[in-house]
Symmetry: C2
Subunit: 338 residues, 2 copies
């Protein structure tokens, strides 16, 4: 197609309306009270409350268009990841996502096909992750020097109490749903000089976890219904996010070194190949988008959750998160790193 | 403060938590069911529906940090404008804003004081524009190569029907609330080589309209209650936005040349100084964030609205918007311009 003079290759060759006409048909989704195309969209909020959150992906910060090993991030990847990380925030409240609104900032040379892929990836993530009630309700398009994709997500608690970070109590079981460190392993593979085209099944799959994460969306509402005392999305690494749960709840937690070692063991082969420490991925790796939750000690953990530690009364120590009573070996991700 | 070695000057010198600690206290606002700090915030949606929209400001596209005449865009300006343009979208549905969630993408060298100013500007706009029921519900912080500020806004229809773009009927009065062309005049002043420091009262005020727009937030719900058939935000220029209303409603409109001439006359002094055509500002200037609405011919126009034309049955002509029966002299703003 590249030599056909009238085939639009970059977004600079289309008007806003023409670009939107290529995006809207790809979005599909459930019927809303009022969908995209007016000044605002209109969602149902049947229980009289709406949960809301916002999250952004920035080129060269949250993804590279081309990684050292040769993998090229597709629009589909970015659309999927944008949906997934937003859906995960609503999941962590115990809510069900009802809409996404998406703002795209696009350099003039962005291929139109990349933007179409982004719309496809958004849609596919909603379907594949089981967010059947979530529609892409609208958006905004503009130019900029680098790709920036922001989505805001709304959620419906379906009459349940929201599960906050602040409800953990001493004696609670600390549990995780979803992988630990896989997204970090995938990131390390993409950042390495290993030729992406030659990666084998397991390692190819780890890069997919990084590019197209699959948060366990069924688990949030189930944990809420099971009476989870506290819950949050693990987006910046287990230790850092557990520390946030501790701050909000006024507790500390001790992680079980045996459990963490077993988690790390699953990533040991890849880590060995890269000269990395798999335990640091498990403790500090971001973007897994699983759930961290505290349950009363007598709760039968809902399917998919596994115990990783214990909630304890806050002591005098500075560090709210320990591993077998000692300081953890890795901290996690800070967006500013100051 | 610049020579105090421990005073943080750029966001790179703070952790995410430290930066958030400087932002949150500036946000204030009404009490929410659950405010910022958890995975998602929680709003009331008393009438069982939530209106939602999203809008983005990008450095060097939507604002310059330093304009040719010397004006430096403050964080306060960008925070104000981000709030205002989002609030305007909800206003145009006839709804009342209930929350903003804000995502900031910040270059490492961004002064912390600029970000604090942004939070202050957001807050000030909510208060000054009368959005007393709107809280900053949460946000997201990350790094990037240029400043990108995105907000999503939610609104409450308070039991009313939303006013769509699609309801205009032949015979309706086309009316406007808010200024026409002032933001474009302000933009032209900022883009000119006129020394900002020497601008006089009226022209200084026009640049303020561009930097800190004041959408008429009381007017949207009032127009809805008065039975407006159709309504939208004028963000990309009167002619372009009227064309969108026509497309959605299956009608055309004829604008009154006398009315437009009187509007242009208000900007003639500034236009003369810049060698510009004030009518092109009135017809094509973006970012005024007033309201364009269609009312039944016998409606007493709500306070603040003035007649600018008439809705007609769609004819055979290609152009849905005419001025005294002829083609308009200016088109409006397209974000991609293809």
């Amino acid at each position: 197609m590249a030599d056909h003079p009238h085939y639009p290759q970059s977004v600079a060759e289309l008007s806003e309306r023409e670009l939107l006409a290529r995006i809207f048909p790809r979005l599909g989704g459930p019927r809303m009270l009022l969908g995209p195309g007016d000044d605002a969209a209109l969602l149902r909020a049947p229980d009289g409350r709406t949960a809301i959150s916002i999250d952004t992906l920035v080129q060269d910060q949250d993804f590279r268009l081309r990684w050292p090993g040769g993998y090229r991030t597709t629009g589909y990847d970015v659309g999927w990841k944008c949906a997934a990380q937003n859906l995960s925030d609503v999941n962590a409240m115990g809510a069900v996502a009802t809409s996404l609104v998406v703002s795209l900032t696009l350099p003039a040379h962005t291929p139109v096909s990349w933007v179409e892929g982004l719309a496809d990836g958004l849609s596919a993530a909603l379907r594949a992750l089981g967010a059947e009630d979530c529609a892409v309700a609208g958006g905004d398009l503009g130019r900029g020097g680098q790709l920036v994709v922001t989505a805001a997500v709304t959620g419906d608690l379906q009459g349940r109490k929201p599960v906050l970070r602040s409800g953990a109590r001493p004696g609670d079981v600390l549990a995780v749903c979803g992988a630990l460190g896989e997204a970090a392993a995938g990131l390390a593979l993409l950042e390495s000089s290993l030729d992406y085209a030659r990666l084998e099944g397991r390692e190819r799959a780890l890069t997919a976890v990084q590019s197209r994460p699959c948060p366990p969306l069924a688990a949030g509402p189930v944990a809420a219904a099971a009476g989870a005392h506290a819950m949050m999305d693990i987006s910046d690494g287990l230790v850092r996010d557990a520390g946030r749960l501790c701050s909000a709840s006024g507790v500390r937690v001790d992680l079980d070194p045996e459990v963490l070692r077993a988690e790390a063991e699953l990533l040991a082969g890849t880590a060995g190949k890269l000269g990395a420490d798999p335990l640091s991925w498990v403790l500090g790796g971001g973007e897994d988008h699983g759930l961290l939750a505290a349950f009363a000690p007598d709760t039968v953990l809902p399917r998919g959750f596994r115990r990783v530690g214990t909630v304890l009364a806050r002591g005098d120590g500075a560090n709210p998160v320990s591993v077998g009573g000692a300081a953890p070996a890795a901290a996690g991700w800070d967006h500013f790193g100051g």
